[in-house]
């Protein structure tokens, strides 16, 4: 069977141990594999080479402001939800040198930084994160201009997506229509069921990466097991968000007292925006040498929670926690729609889990909905 590769769109099954052969094919094709792995205290994303680098037999409990690793009773490869890192780190790195400027003969020359574009294979991209990447595509590629570094990284990236059969307790992708099942945009999409991986072939490259892998056409029973697991997942979301009447709900409640209450708790630390897989704000910083002969321009992640972010001529337009929190939430769930034709939230739950003040945007929205103007 292994000599005939499956067709695009086909559903096949492989033994779990065969995943290593897919990894090997990816490595042979020049990809650097980035995937979930066990960190000190969380399932993080990092370079991996073997399937044994995956957090096999581990899971986590997440709540607002809390994350704890936990052992599973089985040896599932993908039995956990998203962790602190998102693929944004790799497609849109937190720090990127843009160019160097040299003083020369009274003028100056600009030399763009030309780093080799990394060729990543993302292993275990969840449905919410697939949608987050699609949203960043809109922001960086289909919005009247193109972010060249993002484009280069994005075009070279291979995506092995993984459907979610065990959503975390801060997940709400079902509410956002972004999960727990992946529809499009992947090279391979995997569903883990007992003993086997079910794979959907999404692209020619995905098909090629199955060369030499033992596979068989997914049987009716396997397909049904996967379908049932995903249906069950849909009703096991830890959080829910009623998105009806958004964005207007927020526009009509810009003076709601709830903003003051959340501002009392918010630390303006910016963690929510940094972990959010769709937030795209950045700043450019110039560093010059002492002789003032050479300067470097570096792009760094920024956030609407940073005070300097809203500093304009004459003062700060968002001088309070209230103004900053309102900017974040109304951007994600209201003005993003005007800008990009989609909500800016995919329901991954990261901003809830990784907020050191345990602020939960789903709670904030329901409070505004219950007591607010409609």
């Amino acid at each position: 069977m292994a000599d005939i590769t499956p067709k695009i769109g086909a559903y096949i099954s492989i033994a779990k141990t065969s995943l290593q052969a897919v990894f090997d094919n990816l490595k042979a094709a020049g990809f650097t594999l980035i995937g979930p792995t066990l960190g000190d205290s969380a399932i993080e994303c990092a370079e991996i080479t073997q399937t044994t680098d995956l957090p096999i037999g581990w899971t986590q409990v997440q709540e607002a402001g809390t994350y704890r690793l936990q052992r599973r009773s089985d040896q599932a490869y993908f039995g956990y939800a998203v962790g602190p890192h998102s693929w944004k780190r790799y497609l849109y790195p937190p720090t990127l040198k843009l160019y160097t400027v040299d003083h020369q003969n009274g003028g100056f020359t600009v030399t763009p930084a030309t780093p080799a574009t990394p060729q990543y294979a993302f292993i275990g991209v969840r449905p919410c994160d697939m949608h987050a990447i699609a949203i960043q595509d809109r922001v960086f590629l289909h919005n009247g201009f193109q972010e060249t570094d993002y484009k280069a990284r994005r075009q070279r990236a291979f995506i092995l997506a993984v459907n979610c059969t065990e959503p975390g307790s801060t997940c709400f992708c079902a509410s956002m229509g972004t999960g727990p099942q992946i529809e499009t945009g992947f090279d391979l999409a995997l569903t883990e069921i007992p003993e086997i991986f079910l794979l959907e072939i999404g692209s020619e490259l995905g098909r090629e990466m199955l060369t030499g892998v033992d596979w068989w056409h997914a049987g009716a029973f396997e397909l049904q097991t996967a379908r049932q697991a995903l249906t069950a997942a849909r009703s096991h979301m830890g959080r829910q968000l009623d998105i009806s009447a958004l964005p207007n709900l927020l526009y009509q409640n810009l003076e709601h007292p709830r903003w003051d209450q959340v501002a009392n708790r918010c630390l303006s630390c910016a963690n929510c925006t940094q972990v959010c897989p769709t937030c795209f704000c950045s700043d450019v910083k110039d560093v010059s040498d002492l002789q003032n002969q050479q300067a470097e321009r570096v792009r760094v992640w920024d956030s609407c929670f940073n005070l300097d972010f809203s500093h304009v001529h004459g003062g700060n337009i968002r001088p309070t926690n209230r103004a900053r929190y309102r900017q974040w939430l109304t951007h994600k769930l209201a003005s993003w729609v005007d800008q990009f034709g989609t909500l800016g939230c995919v329901g991954c739950g990261r901003c809830i889990t990784w907020c050191p003040a345990s602020i939960d945007l789903t709670e904030e929205i329901s409070a505004i909905r219950e007591e607010g103007t409609r």
């Binding site: 002492l290 001088p319 003040a357």
Partner: protein, 284 residues
């Protein structure tokens, strides 16, 4: 210097190449010398700096000392003795720009812990001959004594930030150091938040960036070395630590370290201590 509309006048005299270079001085008050070391530690850049400025007074680096006035004076340390209180006035008089460097100079430093206690008790307990000790009751930042043109935070300061400030002064633009939280650096670095994942109280959310979020990367909560951010929500962080199970006294200790006497940290610590006292009384 703090004009919102532009940078300071460049310290480089606007004259032909042979003109005198701007004169730099480094002064030490009550401190551990760690911030001056940060300057010495900038080995590669130190030569370049010596090419741009005349290092006129820097006793930690050179025996040669030249009299003022100075274009830029870097001042390390807190004011803790009557002699220092006088000497800082003279430094101010001799300096065009006075830059306070480090937690001691900007917030009183670790020695400001004395400010919560009776100095005489310390003197009696520590010194064999207390009569020889002539000290003030408090350790205070430079800005409590003279006008300061720029405060560079850190315990110790970051050498790259120091060079950036000096470079800015040389070309005449506003020094730019980040004012956002340590959390921003922590996330850029890719560290998993230890408050969330391990329940460790961390001052990162209310502390100004500058160190590169070193401590959380080694499983330590941030100690607040770069002092409070511009608008820290100390009460909310204190409440959160309490909810995580930290004892009030533990939180007060966390607020009172190297920058404990900085306004925001000091007020928050005092408030929490007061709350704890009244609740203990009520319980008792």
């Amino acid at each position: 210097m703090n004009s919102p509309n532009g940078g300071p006048a460049p310290i480089k005299p606007n004259q032909p190449a042979q003109a005198a270079k701007p004169r730099l001085a480094v002064f030490k008050f009550a401190s551990c010398d760690g911030c001056q070391l940060a300057l010495l530690d900038a080995e590669d850049e130190l030569l370049a700096l010596a090419g741009q400025v005349e290092i006129a007074y820097f006793v930690e680096a050179s025996r040669r000392t030249l009299a003022g006035p100075y274009d830029v004076s870097l001042v390390e340390g807190a004011i803790t003795t009557p002699e220092e209180a006088e000497r800082i006035q003279e430094v101010r008089r001799q300096s065009r720009y006075l830059i306070a460097i480090g937690a001691c100079a900007t917030a009183g430093g670790i020695q400001a812990l004395r400010n919560w206690h009776d100095i005489d008790d310390f003197i009696q307990a520590v010194y064999a001959h207390p009569a020889y000790i002539d000290t003030l009751a408090t350790a205070t930042p430079i800005s409590d004594h003279v006008q300061v043109d720029f405060e560079l935070r850190g315990c110790p300061i970051n050498k790259y930030q120091l060079l950036a400030v000096l470079t800015a002064l040389l070309v005449g633009r506003q020094p730019s150091v980040p004012t956002y939280s340590v959390c921003v650096e922590c996330k850029r670095r890719g560290t998993t938040c230890i408050t969330v994942a391990q329940g460790v109280p961390c001052l990162g959310p209310v502390t100004q960036a500058g160190c590169g979020a070193i401590c959380p990367a080694y499983r330590r909560g941030c100690y607040g070395c770069y002092g409070p951010t511009e608008a820290p929500n100390m009460d909310a962080l204190g409440q959160r630590f309490l909810a995580m199970g930290a004892a009030p006294a533990e939180i007060v200790r966390l607020f009172r370290t190297f920058n404990g006497y900085a306004d925001a940290f000091r007020l928050a610590g005092d408030k929490l201590e007061e709350m704890d006292r009244t609740s203990v009384q009520r319980r008792g």
